[in-house]
Symmetry: C2
Subunit: 336 residues, 2 copies
């Protein structure tokens, strides 16, 4: 039942996808040289983790694919920056109003690509955290292998030379030690995988929220800029009234800059609307000035969002967990 | 004064940029093979419009750069889809809770890359509208050249053979006709540039708003999913309590799907905050339940946003303007 919403099964199109036919696919899609991201992209993806231990192979591949994502986003952001400059250059040859507005649109689009850049830097932090899970997986493979090897040795000796009790005893003591080590290793893996995964995705989602809300803000100011463009048709020979929007367009850019500087994660406007019982029960309705839709079940989330803001520090703090598990490991080994 | 906020001048860092030092730049940035987007990207950019008429050269380049943007975004979206699948695959080998949550996170990230794809298709519509401005610029160069040529011919004749009044007269009549044609052409250029530019960017900004608000929504649901992950550390040998979040995680995906289906441009949460006087004067405060910040100056914008939604049809309707200018052109030519 819960597998209906899974990536591991096929997806059926939704009603809304059937009702609203999408725009035609982009004419540039996959038709040209370099369509699949090129040699480097494929090489990275296909040979990732191929030489490493089995346990870390899948995650090593994921880390490499995320690097491809980063590279592609980076190129997109770079090209978008150039597009902004070219737009401004093109406008320069046109009338005053087109010139001013394209220049200001260029400023906004340039700002978007700066945001893309910031997002890329943060996405890389997420990737590096995944990488540290991969490293743990790598190192734990060793302890699993060692235990297995001793197991095999004992079985072999018991079959081949069952009277050599002394040697079997030594090996069995070794096995107990290996099992203790393995127990600790598995606990470390379980703890670190979970905490790092939570930190990595929390961080990624926070930066996504920041990036996309800021882009939406800029797009809104862009639309305000377009309102300044006088697009009423003129008849041949008629001159267009002189453009007087310099102050207004500049003010829009200042407003946009101000809004971007003011933005924080707690003032984020887009909020998920959860229908799970647990969240609803905990609701307190102290903040009366929230939207109706948010009062239902969002108030609880509010605090969580603010907490999540300092993920940066959390990524670093998780090393304490390592320490803790290490202490337990020492205790066990002393008691044996 | 108004040039302070221009792409054509250098920008100084803002106070907030100085105060909040950014995270370290992504380690993948520009260090590897294919860093600049590759051969095809550069070729497209550098030779765009090089053979076409002078007037359309800048815009032809912009159109090509936008194609590069599209290509890069497409690769990013494709890679992100693979990352989602790989994440789900990696989770499969882990414990129940990690397995379920990575799978569901994969579904959300896959959905984001589907949104990217939709956005790419729409971005291409914007690019095609720019292309049609370029085509007008291309075709108008001809009428400018013709007028100049006749001008030159008359000047040459007047100097070389000033007594050949008959021929000069014919040429001068030709010049009048060429001037009329040029007048119409310039009016066409002015009208079409403005209306198409407005339509193209309006459409682009609308799809940006849709794309980024939806991504922010999904990221919010992703954070809710992460809450289901039990990251309290276990000691070695201790077993983690059984995972019972299947229903909750499925519900989150259903909620996310529902929220995405419900989203429309009029329910967009992120709104620009304009401080321009004109907008403030027109404000009517009939909608009392809006946020305080929005009451100031956003109510007027409200209607505009809804109007802008059918930009698709506007892009097509603009051909009527062409028709109008054409009629005027006919009238002028008949009257001469």
């Amino acid at each position: 039942m819960h597998k209906t919403y899974s990536l591991r099964n096929a997806r059926v199109p939704t009603q809304s996808q059937l009702q609203n036919p999408p725009p035609p696919p982009a004419t540039t899609k996959g038709k040209f040289f370099g369509g699949k991201g090129g040699l480097a992209f494929n090489f990275r993806k296909n040979y990732a983790g191929a030489m490493g231990p089995q346990l870390a192979r899948k995650l090593a591949q994921l880390v490499k694919i995320e690097k491809n994502v980063l590279r592609a986003m980076e190129i997109a952001s770079m090209e978008r920056r150039q597009a902004a400059q070219q737009l401004s250059l093109w406008g320069l040859e046109n009338d005053d109003d087109v010139s001013d507005i394209t220049d200001k649109l260029g400023v906004l689009i340039y700002e978007m690509s700066e945001l893309d850049d910031q997002f890329i830097d943060r996405y890389d932090q997420y990737r590096l955290t995944l990488k540290s899970i991969r490293d743990i997986e790598n190192s734990i493979q060793g302890s699993r292998d060692r235990k297995e090897k001793i197991d095999d040795k004992i079985a072999y000796l018991k079959y081949k030379d069952p009277n050599n009790i002394q040697k079997i005893e030594i090996l069995e003591q070794e096995l107990v030690r290996a099992e203790a080590e393995s127990l600790v290793a598995e606990a470390q893996l379980s703890n670190i995988t979970r905490s790092k995964m939570k930190a990595a995705f929390s961080y990624q989602f926070d930066s996504m929220i920041e990036h996309s809300e800021k882009v939406a803000l800029i797009a809104g100011y862009g639309k305000a800029l377009l309102e300044l463009l006088d697009d009423s048709p003129v008849t041949p020979g008629e001159t267009r009234p002189a453009y007087d929007g310099y102050e207004a367009s500049k003010q829009i850019i200042i407003d946009a800059e101000h809004a971007l500087n003011e933005w924080t994660l707690d003032t984020a406007q887009v909020r998920p609307n959860l229908s799970i019982r647990e969240y609803q029960e905990e609701t307190d309705s102290s903040d009366e000035d929230l939207d109706n839709r948010r009062i239902n079940n969002q108030t609880v989330q509010e605090n969580e969002w603010i907490d999540d803001e300092d993920d940066d520090s959390r990524i670093i703090e998780q090393d304490d967990d390592d320490q803790e598990v290490q202490n337990v490991a020492n205790n066990i080994e002393q008691s044996l």
